[in-house]
């Protein structure tokens, strides 16, 4: 099986030549080096490295799956599988008017509830705010969550969502893959879905993965 090239931290990727040193890289003078273990990508205007492991670092507009960790007076703290807790303000979580003086807001979201939301604010010192005011954000009832390496989520989703819709279609599960590496799923054949996702996570850097997953899921139909 063909395997993509891998770079280690400190390895020279390419000359800069006016291009941007993107994610997972750093530059010294005209030379761009890898800043993390991963797969390098050299484009016309950007040089970047897709990491193969690592924790999730939140960035704005990311769709994530979060787990409520605490209920405050006017919002919730949300665990998003990163070194930092996110905050979900009341106004970003519920659309109706809530009188905080009289209401216990745990009736909307309580500890251990799972939500899908979007990162709305990230400050320089990593104070993070999430919002549920976007399309697709909602509370997720039932189901289970699994954690995968966040950097592999794009591979699980696939180009234009091709891979995830393949899994959804073949297993009949509802699946939401957050960019933070938490995948929520609900359905009868979630064991197969988990197997497929784990296979993708393990072999994300190999070529010809879609066929392999198709085969793996094809057997059960």
């Amino acid at each position: 099986m063909e395997i993509k090239e891998i770079v280690l931290p400190g390895e020279l990727i390419a000359e800069k030549k006016g291009r941007k040193a993107g994610r997972g890289t750093y530059f010294e003078g005209e030379k761009v080096f890898a800043g993390v273990l991963g797969i390098p990508r050299v484009d016309e205007n950007e040089i970047s490295v897709m990491p193969l492991s690592g924790v999730y670092t939140p960035s704005i507009e990311d769709k994530v799956v979060g787990i409520i960790q605490g209920v405050e007076i006017s919002g919730w703290t949300v665990g998003i599988n990163s070194p930092y807790l996110a905050f979900l303000p009341l106004s970003e979580g519920v659309s109706e008017f809530v009188d905080t003086q009289r209401t216990d807001i745990s009736r909307f979201f309580d500890i251990n509830d799972i939500i899908s939301c979007k990162i709305s604010k990230v400050t320089k010192n990593k104070t993070i705010q999430v919002s549920m005011r976007s399309i697709g954000s909602r509370k997720l009832y039932g189901g289970i969550t699994i954690k995968v390496t966040p950097t592999k989520i794009p591979r699980i989703i696939g180009k234009g969502g091709s891979m995830i819709s393949l899994i959804k279609e073949k297993t009949g599960c509802e699946i939401i893959a957050g960019q933070n590496g938490i995948v929520w799923m609900r359905g009868e054949r979630k064991d197969k879905a988990i197997e497929a996702i784990m296979t993708i996570e393990r072999e994300s850097h190999t070529i010809g993965l879609t066929e392999k997953i198709e085969k793996l899921l094809g057997e059960v139909v």
Binding site: L8, P9, E11, L12, G35, S53, P83, K126, H205
Partner: protein
């Protein structure tokens, strides 16, 4: 010559049959601990060290947090069964010092400023000690950090050099370490060739020191090639 009068170099060869500049057989492995973000096992002959990396993760207690940068915490520990006479478990003066120098050796390689308020924890456990444990530990830690996907400028490579029976040698083992005239530990950023750790005891003149530094650099290059191979192989494996 050792304290008992035993010769450490016979016919230009060391007691374990090595040439003066030859390293011991080196074995490296990554991803050996499932619960850690990154981990590695490094063997330099009879010295075996395991390193595991946890994080970047939230740092508590809160007063330890730095609002503009992350911190690196490093623990070097020798297992009670790692040496001939049982070592009493827990930190002692020596391991506290080595924890610190290991941290200082690794720190320049990591982009800690990417993780304000967080911590990266590195645990180095020496399972079996036969000289040069700190450099083995640093090599293991560096591999584990790369395995954990921590953003780094470079891999850190370390090795020991020294002088026994008047001969300049690389990678001292336990016996040579105990009876050496000079014993030097060195860690460097592998591709940048910048030294992050340099410790020495004994005395040398300037010429010998320069030779030792060169020898250390050459040895580090060899070790770096192995580190590189191990990491690439691991991620290639299906």
């Amino acid at each position: 010559m050792s304290e008992t009068g035993e010769k450490l170099i016979i016919d230009g060869k060391r007691l374990d049959g090595r040439e003066p500049e030859q390293l011991r057989p080196i074995q490296m492995e990554v991803k050996i601990i499932n619960r850690a973000n990154g981990s590695s096992l490094v063997n330099f002959g009879g010295t075996h060290a395991i390193a595991s990396v946890h994080g970047p993760r939230a740092l508590f207690p809160r007063w330890m947090q730095e609002s503009d940068t992350g911190i690196l915490r490093c623990r070097y520990n020798m297992a009670p069964f790692s040496v001939e006479d049982r070592k009493s478990p827990g930190p002692d003066r020596r391991s506290v010092e080595i924890s610190k120098v290991a941290r200082l050796a690794i720190e320049p390689a990591i982009f800690l400023e990417d993780f304000p308020k967080a911590t990266i924890d590195v645990f180095i456990e020496v399972l079996q000690a036969d000289g040069s444990t700190r450099v083995t530990g640093i090599n293991a830690a560096s591999l584990a950090l790369a395995d954990a996907g921590v953003p780094m400028r470079d891999l850190v490579t370390a090795c020991s050099v020294g002088k026994i029976d008047g001969v300049l040698v690389a990678d001292l083992n336990g016996k040579e370490d105990n009876n050496s005239e000079v014993d030097m530990a060195l860690a460097m950023l592998s591709t940048k060739k910048k030294i992050t750790l340099l410790q020495m005891d004994g005395s040398v003149n300037k010429e010998e020191l320069m030779i030792l530094l060169n020898l250390a650099e050459k040895s580090c290059e060899k070790i770096y090639e192995i580190q590189k191979k191990v990491l690439k192989e691991k991620y290639k494996r299906i």
